[in-house]
C-alpha cells in the first residue's frame, strides 16, 4: 500500500487531484481511497487531501502519517505546513515550483503554474494546477499508468475541459524533473 499526501491552497484543485488519482487507480483494477481534509477553507487557505493505493482492499480510515509521496501545490506551504513531517525515508517530494530548489533528498519539481497558465486553466485569476501536478506524481511514483489518469480526467470533465486537463496531465508528466 502506498500513502500520498497532497497539500495546496483552496482553488488549486487539491481535493479533485486526490480523487482523480484514486479513480485512476480504480480504473486500473487497484483499490484506492481519497480522503479530503476540511476546516473553514476559503480560496487561498491551506487544503489537504490524502490518498491510499493498494492491490488489496483498504480497511483503514485513519489519517496518513508516513506518506510515501508528498505533493506540494504551492511552495510557500513548505514553511507554513511542514509537509515533509513523517515522510518515509525513501519518500518522494513533488513540488510546484519555478526553481530547482532542493527541500529533500528526493525532490522533484515542475512549474505547474506556468503549465496551467499556458493552456488557460485558470479560474478567477487562480491557476488550477492539479492536473499538471497529477501528471508529475504518476511519472515519478509509477503508481498508476498515465493513461488511466487521463481516462479519469476525461470522465470527470466532459468535453473540451477534459481535453485541456488531459493535456495538462501530459505536460506535467513530461516536464517534471529531479532536483540535483
Amino acid at each position: 500500500m502506498l500513502e500520498i499526501s497532497l497539500k495546496g491552497r483552496g482553488g488549486q484543485g487539491v481535493v479533485t487531484a486526490g480523487e482523480l488519482l484514486a479513480k485512476g487507480a480504480i480504473i486500473e483494477g487497484l483499490f484506492a481511497q481519497s480522503v479530503p481534509f476540511f476546516g473553514g477553507e476559503r480560496r487561498g487557505a491551506p487544503v489537504s487531501s490524502e490518498v491510499r493505493v493498494s492491490d488489496s482492499p483498504i480497511p483503514l480510515h485513519r489519517r496518513v502519517y508516513n506518506p510515501d509521496m508528498v505533493a506540494v501545490f504551492d511552495p510557500s506551504l513548505m514553511e507554513i505546513l511542514r509537509p515533509l513531517e513523517g515522510i518515509k525515508n525513501d519518500g518522494i517530494l513533488v513540488i510546484n515550483s519555478n526553481s530547482p530548489k532542493s527541500y529533500w533528498k528526493n525532490t522533484y519539481f515542475l512549474d505547474a503554474t506556468a503549465i496551467a497558465m499556458s493552456i488557460g486553466l485558470t479560474i478567477g485569476g487562480w491557476s488550477v494546477v492539479n492536473t499538471a501536478m497529477l501528471g508529475a506524481m504518476v511519472k515519478v511514483s509509477r503508481i498508476v499508468d498515465v493513461n488511466a489518469i487521463e481516462d479519469a480526467v476525461k470522465e470527470e470533465f466532459p468535453g473540451k475541459l477534459g481535453e485541456i486537463n488531459a493535456e495538462a496531465v501530459e505536460m506535467g508528466y513530461k516536464e517534471v524533473s529531479l532536483v540535483g
Binding site: K23, A32, V35, P59, L60, H61, R62
Partner: protein
C-alpha cells in the same frame, strides 16, 4: 445467484448513498442541507433535475419540516427518503419520534457528526446514538460500499409488513461521506427486483381516518408494546434481507460482524468506519501472539443482544470503543454490551475516543488491547 454485470466506480460516500437512493426510486424526498450531508442532497437534486430520479424533491425550510414532509408522503403511500446530520438531526427530533411512534416506513441517512457545544463539523456518533429510543431501526456502515449496500437494504427492511418501521442508516461524517472508495454498484434492474415498488397504503382514502390522535392510557401502552414487538421481529427480517442481498452480491452482512473471533481471547467492539482500523489492530495483535478479535455492531437498533453475549461469553476480556458518551454513565455502546452480557463473568472495559473528529489509529487500539491482555486496562479510558 450473483450478479455478473457489476459496475465498479470510485465514489465518495455521499454520492454512493445518493446513487443507492436513486436506484431505490423513492417518489418523495425532502432534505435540508447540513455539513457533512450536503453533497448528498446536491447529487440527489441533480438526479431529480435530470429526470434520472422521477421524484418530488420538496424544498423545506428546516430538518423538522423535511421529516414532516416525508412522513406525510409515506403515510399516503409513497416511498420516501431524507438525510441529515448533527444539529439537523436534533432539530428533526420531534418528528423522528412521531415517525417512529406511528411506524411509518421511511429511510433516513445520517452523516454522523459531533454535536455542539463546542461547535464541530467533524465526526462522532452522538447524533446517531441519541435516537436509540425513537423506535427506528438503526444500521451503521463501516465503509462506502457498506453505506451503499445498507441504503438499498434499508428500504426493503423498512417496508416489510412484518416490520413497518423507519430505518436510519448512519455513516461517519467526512470519514465516509467525503472519502472516495472503490464501490461495486448493482445494475438498476437488480435493485428493481430486490426492492419492487411499494404496493401498500397506510391510509384508505375511501375511508379517511385521523392519524396521531390522542391515545388513552390503555391504548398508548398498547401502541408502544406493538412497537417493541415489531422491533424484535425485525431481527429476523434484517437477517433475511441481508442473506438475500448476499446471494446477489456475495457480500456477507448480518446484525454483527465478527473478525477473527473464533478463538479470540480478547475482543474489541466497535461500530462504524474505525472498525476497519480495528481489523488492522487485530491483525497486528495476532502477529504479536495476542489472540484478538473484532466484534463489529452493524445493527444498533434492534441491538444484537444474543449475538453479542455469545461472543463475549467465549472471551477472557472485552474492550468497547465508543465515539459517544452518555455523560454520567459511560460509553453508549459499552453500556449496551454490558447490558447484553449480564450474567457473564467477563470484564468489559470502555474506551472513549474519536470525539469531534479526533483521529484514532490502529496503534492506539493495539495499545489498549495490549493493556487488556496484561490486565492493565482501566474500566473506562479516554484517549485524549
Amino acid at each position: 445467484m450473483q450478479v455478473e454485470s457489476k459496475v465498479i466506480k470510485g465514489l465518495v460516500g455521499n454520492h454512493a448513498v445518493a446513487y443507492a437512493v436513486k436506484q431505490a426510486k423513492p417518489q418523495v424526498l425532502a432534505v435540508y442541507p447540513i455539513t457533512p450531508q450536503t453533497t448528498m442532497l446536491e447529487k440527489l437534486s441533480e438526479y431529480v433535475e435530470s429526470g434520472e430520479l422521477k421524484a418530488k424533491m420538496i424544498r423545506v425550510e428546516s430538518e423538522h419540516s423535511a421529516l414532516a414532509a416525508v412522513y406525510g408522503a409515506a403515510l399516503a403511500g409513497s416511498r420516501v427518503f431524507t438525510a441529515t446530520a448533527s444539529q439537523g438531526l436534533l432539530y428533526m427530533t420531534e418528528m423522528i419520534y412521531w415517525a417512529g411512534g406511528q411506524r411509518v416506513p421511511i429511510v433516513a441517512a445520517v452523516a454522523t457528526r459531533a454535536i455542539a457545544s463546542p461547535w464541530s463539523i467533524l465526526d462522532d456518533h452522538h447524533d446517531f446514538v441519541s435516537k436509540r429510543d425513537a423506535i427506528w431501526i438503526q444500521l451503521m456502515a463501516e465503509n462506502v460500499q457498506e453505506a451503499y449496500d445498507l441504503t438499498i437494504q434499508a428500504f426493503k427492511i423498512s417496508e416489510d409488513k412484518r416490520v413497518l418501521l423507519p430505518v436510519m442508516m448512519g455513516f461517519d461524517g467526512f470519514i465516509l461521506t467525503h472519502t472516495l472508495e472503490k464501490v461495486e454498484l448493482l445494475p438498476d434492474n437488480v435493485v428493481d427486483a430486490f426492492i419492487p415498488p411499494r404496493d401498500f397504503n397506510l391510509i384508505d382514502f375511501s375511508d379517511p381516518l385521523g392519524i396521531g390522535q390522542v391515545a388513552s392510557p390503555e391504548d398508548y401502552i398498547y401502541y408502544r408494546y406493538e412497537a417493541q414487538r415489531s422491533m424484535e421481529r425485525s431481527r429476523e427480517v434484517i437477517t433475511e434481507v441481508e442473506r438475500d442481498y448476499e446471494d446477489i452480491t456475495g457480500r456477507k452482512y448480518g446484525l454483527i460482524d465478527c473478525y477473527m473471533c473464533d478463538d479470540a481471547e480478547y475482543i474489541i467492539v466497535s461500530m462504524g468506519a474505525w472498525s476497519g482500523d480495528a481489523r488492522v489492530a487485530v491483525q497486528k495483535e495476532r502477529e504479536k501472539g495476542i489472540r484478538a478479535g473484532l466484534l463489529k455492531v452493524r445493527t444498533f437498533r434492534p441491538f444484537p443482544k444474543d449475538e453479542v453475549k455469545q461472543i463475549v461469553g467465549k472471551s477472557r476480556g472485552v474492550v468497547v470503543f465508543d465515539r459517544s458518551v452518555s455523560y454520567g454513565s459511560g460509553g453508549v455502546l459499552a453500556n449496551e454490551v454490558k447490558s447484553a452480557s449480564y450474567g457473564l463473568d467477563v470484564p468489559i472495559h470502555s474506551v472513549i475516543a474519536g470525539l469531534g473528529g479526533k483521529d484514532v489509529r490502529p496503534l492506539h487500539m493495539e495499545k489498549v488491547l495490549d493493556d487488556l491482555a496484561l490486565n492493565q486496562l482501566e474500566d473506562e479510558r479516554w484517549l485524549l
